[in-house]
Symmetry: C2
Subunit: 301 residues, 2 copies
Amino acid sequence: MRASKPLLAGVELGGTKCVCLIGTGPDDIRAQISVPTGADSSAILRRIEDILRDWNVVHGPIAALGIASFGPVDLDPESPSYGCITSTPKPGWRGTNVARRLAQSFVVPVGFDTDVNGAALAEGRWGGAKELADFAYVTVGTGVGVGLVVRGRPPCGFSHPELGHIRIARVAGDTWPGVCAFHGDCVEGLASGPAIAARAGQPAGEIAPDSPVWELVAHALAQLLHTIVLGTAPRRILIGGGVIEARPELLGRVRRQLILSLNGYLEFDAVTGGIDTYVIPPGLGALAGPLGALALAADAI
Amino acid sequence: MRASKPLLAGVELGGTKCVCLIGTGPDDIRAQISVPTGADSSAILRRIEDILRDWNVVHGPIAALGIASFGPVDLDPESPSYGCITSTPKPGWRGTNVARRLAQSFVVPVGFDTDVNGAALAEGRWGGAKELADFAYVTVGTGVGVGLVVRGRPPCGFSHPELGHIRIARVAGDTWPGVCAFHGDCVEGLASGPAIAARAGQPAGEIAPDSPVWELVAHALAQLLHTIVLGTAPRRILIGGGVIEARPELLGRVRRQLILSLNGYLEFDAVTGGIDTYVIPPGLGALAGPLGALALAADAI
């Protein structure tokens, strides 16, 4: 079986690190190397190119390359800035064309999408949404990202979904302004790792499990899920990322707050089979992101 | 030309009235009859059946029937309650199977979807989104409905979109609780016709144009559009319905509030060509709803 599967390379450009990997799928990863996502984007892309070229020699030629990047990115093939990271607040990366640059060195089909869309497609191909054409993938880490899959593909109008940046109802009396550079108290401004740390005045990993901060974080994430449920009515929502991985008990709080927020609308439990099987962790765990790049490579063939 | 187009019948079941029509498209509507949507659903459906039967005699046999209904409705063909209106607060209609009942009398293909999805598809087929595969249609009237179109079709997971019921950021200091039976101050609870009337203490049509109520309504609708923009990134948003038709100046306020709310994220103006051509009234005007039923009939063939 293994021999018949094409060899794929993937690059996940994340907010804190870039992960390169080569293989044919989750059960056959030949190598994986991470590079911190510093401000010198040119140097980092050069390092990634070197890794991929070395692998081409060691592991053999790849059939396709997938690039899954933090956003916002330009996904319109007609656009002169196709392949670029656009309005990111991340120093050194605004306007960087990651797709065209990495595609130059390899004469193979190249798939390019957001890191979140990639991860969602990987979950659909290999993970927690394998049999589903309509689902959502949410990641809560440096940012809050949402990958929607509608009839097997992410929606793509003038751009890709960015639901982490919706403005939401706040908990009564909570007026903390949030940390999003664009929106203050959007979901990302309230529930991302940096937001949680800013609110608590200590790294998210050091906050006590019984801190009142967690219920506020769960509320913000539940508001996001409320919107996703009423937006495309996904058949399952996978929610992961660094914050959830570090605090898996958040999942139960988010589920409870979501049920409270929907308040009986849509006969939700009847149609979803219950909240505990509806909102679940990603099947690929922390590998959903890097495998997203491989999924994009596979889709590019 | 006209002779070659199939003759279609449509029934739009709306919150206040049901509109029946027969024809081949917007330029060729042979007849149209409205029936008030009272609480006796059985009597109203009987009246609609009589109208359609009469037309079959007068105008000739129809090639297909389209039914566009207020929601929530069950759109899952595998479900025992397919064709039903589900958890509506509307007296007399909860659990009514409108699709199966109306389909019984006519041996033709039957299309069934929400009134809002139907109107969106009509706008895509004949109206303000003719050349677009990815757009959104918003109607603000008795309720607030959103029809998303992604790659030419409405998303359909476990149900249809119901974005009128998202909970949103409020204007600072505005604590009016809203009127939605499920969510209080969701978009529908703040910006529907009944919500506006309840807040102002007078019918929406009698409220002064310079009342502060309108800016609050515009804010709620702009929050909905903010979410839609970041949800599926539609290439255009059509916004109509009774409230907008009665107060077309709302459109400018919504546009301004949307730009303020997005706050430069996604380089929105650059990719959409500017807010004045991005958020526009429906091309079919008040006929978008009834023509939605015809569009569903056309799609059913």
